[in-house]
Amino acid sequence: MPTTLDGGGLFRVHESDIPFVCYLDANGQPTQPLPGWAEEGSLLVDYYKAMVKAREADRKAIAMQRTGVMGTYPSCLGQEAPGVVYGKQLKKEDVLVPYYRDLPGQLLRGVELSDIYLYWGGDERGSAGPGYGQDFPNCVPIATQAGHAVGVASAFRIRDEHRVALTTCGDGATSKGDFLEALNLAGVWQLPVVFLVVNNQWAISVPRPIQCGAPTLAQKGAGAGLPCVQVDGNDVIALHEVIGSAIERARQGKGSVVIEAITYRLGDHTTADDATRYRDSEEVRKAWSEEPVKRLQTYLHNRGLWSPEQEQAYLEQVKLEIQQAVEIYQKTPLPQVDDLFDYHYKDLPAGLRRQKEEMQGGLGHE
């Protein structure tokens, strides 16, 4: 029988010294002195406006799904904050490798809202718009985008470009090998890539504690030798500090960081889901008291940086913009048969050409 080193504490769980960053509490009160830029306020107003717009656009998408104008849609309600921050902090030449709940960030990156609607409307052309630049399209197969992000970052390094790749994923995604393999590479190669885990506490019906036994998800970076940090994912000031510095650090060639933004999925997983089947309404009620938009609004009101009148005017403007996007989306004609065939290879192979003609014949437009 071996001596029980265990009793001696050999097998203690690795001590977690992961920092947690927060500036504004759930009531919009500062918990510590704010950074200068936040005191100044104008960027905070921008963040606020971007969140409000995202939330309206999201609400519209759900409404369209309910009325049969759009298919299954995954709402970003409650987790708008990380997106508006990276959306503003990334440079145009950087590359976003998103998951599928990144509407707030994508809008700031320049993606047309009508394209986002078109995508969820079941049309590949929604991933084609010029607004995406070199950004990746939404990624549905969980965590697979992490591999792309380290590939993009490798390309930057190979070409000596001072660009950064930022990739997002959910809490559930951190269990999938793709994510972990990518962290490991970023650690060995010191790649200019930022991993942003948007921990909204649920992966469909699976709650965070059932997803991983570690106290933080950020510490998945430890095994890859990466710095890891938790941040209040409903606090744009904290997010700005953490994401902004991580991007800068990566740009300066200092390598990769894993950020876990703690937030909450206020809505159902998608419009096809019914979260009341598996989670407590009490939990959701509590989460509503911590959500990012109200929190920042309170702070801005308190500081006199934003007024109900401004809110009113802005909301009207946003609704107009959204209505325009809806119209563009709804007026987009069905794709041609060419669209379905012509993008599998740069040049259409002979066999596919014949099949295309066959399909065109069948649809009656030769």
């Binding site: 079941g122 549905v140 969980i142 559930g172 269990s175 999938k176 090998g177 469909i204 066999g351």
Partner: protein, 327 residues
């Protein structure tokens, strides 16, 4: 009638009965517990059998496949769910190099009595990557069984047999017909064989071979053709691997003509093997070349256009007429 069930309810019932009969039957997968599966295939089973037997896993398909192999090697009869077939690719290494080979590489010392269930195919306006039908990839792998039900009754009987099977079964559920039809299930515990095709309709002019959701469009086509005086013999392959060619050959020998219908991309699809076998074995008896009606060799279009991809009643009827008028 309240005791009639849809296909997905039949799956649920089969799982329920199998778990009641044999405590070694355990379920695992993403969202199969409290949520009952995103299509409700495992509804109520967690509350009935407890969390030791109905296990919500972390989000990791490779892990799901790997641990299922481990459980099966220990003599459990695990039934894993992959939420959509579009996410089955991460299981391929485990399926090909382990599940399919465990018995062979240990010459029977260990085995792998597992079932991997996945909803598959298009037609429900699902998000990107949620409409795959790549059964051909699995059918090529020696050691696997690939089974596809096309009705509630067959879902029940085939799934019971799949769970009984001492070897790994990939059980693909055509989600397009999860809820389109209700049937009274057969006697509790009744099984359907995993080594035969089902002849759904007898006929004399042409043999129509298909599986899964396409059975529905084929049945429609049979009705249309019957009105036109054409007698079609309709075969539901059901078990794609190992393939029961006897039934298909016997029917085609009788009719002299055959049309194969599937949703997956045509090239290198399951239809190719069936067609090749018919041609090889019945070359001198065929009255006309075998025809394939299948998906085009393109990625299943995102949902606005998916209906134009999936073989429909019209394409099937035309193909059968073509086949009948040849030579």
């Amino acid at each position: 009638m309240s005791d009639k069930k849809t296909l997905v309810e039949a799956v649920n019932t089969a799982l329920d009965h199998a778990m009641a009969d044999d405590k070694d039957v355990v379920l695992l997968g993403e969202d199969i517990g409290a949520n009952g599966g995103v299509f409700r295939a495992t509804q109520d089973l967690k509350s009935k059998y407890g969390l030791k037997r109905v296990m919500d896993t972390p989000l990791a398909e490779t892990l799901i496949a790997g641990m299922t192999v481990g459980m099966a090697a220990q003599g459990l009869k695990p039934v894993a769910e992959i939420q959509f077939m579009g996410f089955i690719f991460a299981c391929m290494e485990q399926l090909v190099t382990h599940a399919a080979r465990m018995r062979n590489r240990t010459r029977g010392r260990l085995s792998c009595p597992m079932v991997l269930r996945a909803p598959f195919g298009g037609g429900i306006h699902a998000p990107e990557h949620h409409s795959e039908s790549t059964e051909a990839l699995l059918a090529h792998i020696p050691g696997l069984r690939v089974v596809i039900p096309s009705s509630p009754v067959r879902a029940y009987g085939l799934l019971r047999s799949a769970i009984d099977s001492p070897d790994p079964v990939i059980f693909l559920e055509p989600k397009r017909i999860y809820r389109v039809q209700k049937q009274t299930l057969p006697e509790t515990g009744s099984r359907l064989p995993l080594d035969t095709c089902f002849t759904l309709r007898e006929g004399s002019d042409v043999t129509l071979v298909t599986w899964g959701a396409c059975v529905r469009e084929c049945q429609e086509a049979c009705n249309t053709l019957a009105e036109q005086g054409v007698s079609v013999e309709l075969i539901d392959v059901a078990t794609i691997k190992p393939l029961d060619m006897e039934t298909i050959l016997a029917s085609t020998r009788k009719t002299g003509r055959c049309v194969i219908v599937h949703e997956a991309a045509r090239s290198f699809g399951v239809g190719a093997e069936i067609a090749a076998r018919i041609f090889e074995d019945l070359f001198f008896e065929l009255k006309a070349p075998v025809k394939r009606v299948a998906g085009y060799d393109i990625t299943m279009p995102y949902y606005r256009m998916e209906e134009h991809y999936i073989p429909d009643h019209k394409r099937i009827v035309i193909a059968i007429h073509d086949c009948l008028t040849e030579p």
